[in-house]
Amino acid sequence: MSVYTQGVIALMGVNILMALSVYAIVMADQVSLGNAGFMAIGAYTSAYLSVKLGIPIFPALLIGALAASFIGLLIGVPLLRLSGLYFVMGTFGFGEVVRTFFMVFEPTGGAYGFRGPVGATLPMIYGWVLVLIVLFWLLSRSRLGRSLDALRDDAEVASSIGLNVTLLKLGVFWLGSFTAGIAGGLYAHYMFYIESGNFHILVSAIAILCVILGGMYTFWGALLGGVIFSILPEVLRFMGGWRLSVYGSVLVLMMIFRPSGIISRQMVRNTGEWVGGIFRKASS
């Protein structure tokens, strides 16, 4: 496999994780435009730990993600009171605060960026992807997952059947910021170099687009979206300098013609039954 292909596949893993981090928060009917901020916290924290303090990559990643999710809880308490557009703007403001913070924060290189974290391999990246997919899969079939579905359907009714809506929202916000923190740590340790520009609002926006395009009602949608949005820019490489224009135009057209997402929950159910049928046939 060429270095180029490896790079694309590695970034695909990071993109999938970022899409899952958005999906986590979408489960509570909120859309965060600030996940690049959590990604940045995970990236800078883990990179600092492994470069300056010599901590091995696995604990460094974990601490980075825990730091991101701790900040997530802190910011989540006031932000989750907001609804709709205000929540989007609030998370966006948070993302920009984080990005501009790392632009001036000297211990992690400030505007010059931070060099040196190494050690993320493809198996490691996809190991994390797998762990999180299993987690989201378990969640989707558990009682907790169903509570989240209820919250998303009708938060008021959800509270009338005894669900603590605030706690559920905070929980998925924690999960989303943790996942983005892992994505950031892996990104930093794969690229060997990070700068604040890597955690631009566009990163958050693309992660949301992954979820919307893939399908907002199942985590498989986030997975598919992550794959598509990693391959699309590469496919468009032959366009040369106009590549980004074509990319942007494709996105605009996608929004017009496929705004409801590719994978629906019904599709997942049907596929599940179909696969189950094959197994039953095979065993009989």
Binding site: Y86, E96, P259
Partner: protein
């Protein structure tokens, strides 16, 4: 010194106000955000540059850039808002982010990604007013911005079309029953929003005298910050918000550290969203 900074702050702030008004116009009408607004600003600045390069006088370049930026925004309305009018507010928001990518790329292809300097078409004169040194560029910027701000404010307040805009923003169904052509109101509002951003782009480019295809992102975000601080969807609030941001930015650069400028502005924005989402002059309607 302080007075001088205040004048500089007002000059810069007035360009932010123009941007913030553009955000507020669209948000007030459709309750949606046009994230590509900052890139329209950038596009307007480059259009003005191109016209100035052709040897046009500044006022002509300004007007043409205004029209050009307005037309770009009408295209945004056609592609990113009209087809998605009934969908979740997030869809047009993301669509405009994508459109912003296109605008940046087109600008890079046409004008290159290196910072470009504005040609000196007018002689810069300096005036000493007591302790304050004012350049002719400052005066052009302030005068143009104030003229446009008063203009749009009076337009929305006094003309029948302005009344149609307000009616549409408050009760679209009723407005259409009363014979208001909603599509026309929306198209015009987008045009006005884009035209103001285009003017702001040209004026800002005069101050910084160098522009790149990527300045739009930051300026656009700052315009949004100004709008939120002033009061979401409130035109006069947006004007004052813009001036405030300009003053804060200049004061920070003068008396604190320029590097912390954006973190302070975005921090302020976050604080407002969380603790005072209706802004300074908005009405509470969360």
């Amino acid at each position: 010194m302080f007075l001088q900074q205040l004048v500089n702050g007002l000059t810069l702030g007035s360009t932010y106000s123009l941007l913030a008004i553009g955000f507020a116009l669209v948000l007030g009408l459709l309750n949606m955000l046009n994230i590509a607004h900052g890139d329209v600003f950038m596009f307007g600045a480059f259009l003005g540059l191109s016209f100035a390069m052709l040897g046009m006088p500044l006022y002509l370049a300004l007007i043409l850039a205004m029209v050009g930026a307005g037309v770009v925004t009408i295209i945004i309305e056609r592609l990113c808002f009209r087809p998605l009018r009934k969908s979740h507010f997030l869809m047009p928001l993301l669509s405009t982010i994508a459109f912003g990518i296109v605008l940046q790329n087109v600008a890079t292809q046409i004008w290159g990604s290196e910072p470009v300097r504005y040609p000196q078409t007018t002689e810069i004169a300096q005036f000493q007013l007591g302790p304050v040194l004012v350049s002719s560029i400052d005066i052009i910027i302030l005068a143009t911005s104030i003229l446009l701000m008063v203009g749009i404010d009076q337009f929305v307040k006094r003309t029948s079309f302005g009344r149609a805009m307000r009616a549409t923003s408050e009760k679209p169904q009723t407005a259409s029953l009363l014979g208001v052509n909603i599509n026309w109101v929306i198209v015009f509002t987008f045009f006005a929003s884009g035209a103001l951003a285009g003017v702001a782009g040209v004026l800002t480019a005069l101050v910084y005298s160098q522009i790149t295809p990527f300045i739009g992102i930051r300026q656009g975000l700052i315009g949004m910050v100004a709008m939120v601080i002033g009061g979401v969807g409130n035109l006069r609030g947006a004007m004052i918000g813009g001036l405030m941001i300009g003053i804060i930015e200049i004061m920070n650069d003068a008396y604190f550290a320029a590097g912390y400028r954006d973190i302070i502005l975005f921090g302020l924005f976050l604080a407002f969203i969380v603790f005072k989402p209706e802004g300074l002059f908005g009405t509470k309607e969360q």
